[in-house]
């Protein structure tokens, strides 16, 4: 499926920024490298961007840069795609998460429900664990609650999801990535997933 793309030239025209600014922001990592999509056109190579993402991002940078230095702005832009939204119908169509998982966890939402990036991420994580056969559907429901209640508290800081089981009783933990966690011997760590990696994966699939 082709996303709506905007060429570099159109982008500079519509936003009124200069080449210098665009390259500076790229260097400061305000604009992710993956958004620079090279395509060959009849005039040679041209660079394109995912239209909705780049316009929202530039709007944000332009608004923030008056009060903050560029390095501070870079800190504010979390790895999550904050402005990203997708309708349920489109999400199903993209085939990123299995239909079974969508039926189970989003079955009640009508097709035109708009999901935020975080919500998509939760579905993605759950689907991933379901696919490996390590987690049951009921546990998935609980995981969804855990993610929804606690994941936003990390505010984009790196964290890991740990899925443990002891004597058949399962539990989910969200811990920040630099924390050490130790368990007693009876605990089996079923899965340990770095959320940052999952965010990257999902981002790669969406863009």
């Amino acid at each position: 499926m082709d996303r709506d793309l905007i060429s570099k030239k159109e982008l500079l025209d519509t936003t009124g920024i200069s080449y210098g600014q665009l390259y500076r922001w790229k260097r400061k990592q305000l604009i992710p490298e993956e958004w620079f999509i090279r395509k060959s056109t009849f005039t040679g190579q041209e660079t394109f961007f995912p239209k909705d993402l780049i316009l929202a991002r530039i709007d944000k940078i332009v608004n923030m840069k008056d009060d903050l230095s560029l390095d501070q702005v870079a800190g504010k832009l979390s790895p999550l795609l904050q402005d990203y939204e997708l309708r349920k119908a489109a999400f199903v169509e993209r085939n990123i998460v299995s239909l079974v998982a969508i039926h189970q966890f989003a079955g009640k939402d009508p097709d035109h429900t708009v999901y935020s990036f975080e919500m998509l991420l939760y579905f993605y994580v759950i689907d991933k664990l379901l696919q490996t056969g390590e987690m049951t559907m009921e546990e998935g429901e609980r995981l969804l609650t855990v993610l929804r209640d606690h994941f936003p508290k990390f505010e984009g800081k790196p964290c890991d999801l740990i899925f443990i089981r002891k004597m058949g009783v399962s539990s989910f933990l969200l811990v920040s990535s630099d924390a050490h966690v130790y368990f007693d011997n009876g605990i089996k760590i079923v899965a340990k997933l770095p959320m940052v990696e999952l965010i990257e994966q999902l981002r790669g699939k969406l863009i």
Partner: protein, 224 residues
Amino acid sequence: MAEPRKQDLKIIGETTSSGGQFGNVRITGQCTFRSDLDCNRISCIGQTDVQGNLRAGELKLTGEAAVGGTLDAGRVGGRGQLNVSSRLRGEQIQFTGEIKVGDDCEAGDLAMLGAFDVHGLVSAERLELKMLGSCKAKEIGGGRLVVRRSRKSALIHLFKPSSVGSLVADSIEGDVVELEHTTAQVVRGNHVTIGAGCQIGRVEYTQTLDVHKNAVVQEMVRQA
């Protein structure tokens, strides 16, 4: 809590180090770092080889340096040869000699006398390139880009006719672009000056365009 003071490192002669975090690093002679090196300031005289990534607040080089990974530096200065296998990112780069970069080379200020060979994008807010040898880049982009052939190039040409200051790039984009002895497929900019010895496929400009009589431009397009 105050950060523990980082140790300084001083090397004279020929040494191998495992790398790590340091304050000031001074190398006279030859040194190989087996993994990543992170320091406030590094000054090298002779040959330095970092097999991992190099991060430095300031890099001063006289001689030869090779970085196996990425190079992130605040300031880069000196003369000699600098090889970076992956990406080079610096705030201020002022270098005489040759820079080779395997991926992108991104800088705030990039002032060079000599030659470069960059496989990816060269981007700089201000690029001032005085060419002594053949320069190559896939793309060049930035605010103000000035490319000239150094006057000394003519002298070198007498002894070594093959090496003459010139630049080859696929595309060059900037707000202000001034070129000399450049071969490019596309040049885009607001104020574009195409100097002597240029061969450009297509120029797209918005404000002004100057073309030297000894330049060849196949197509010129003014955009509103």
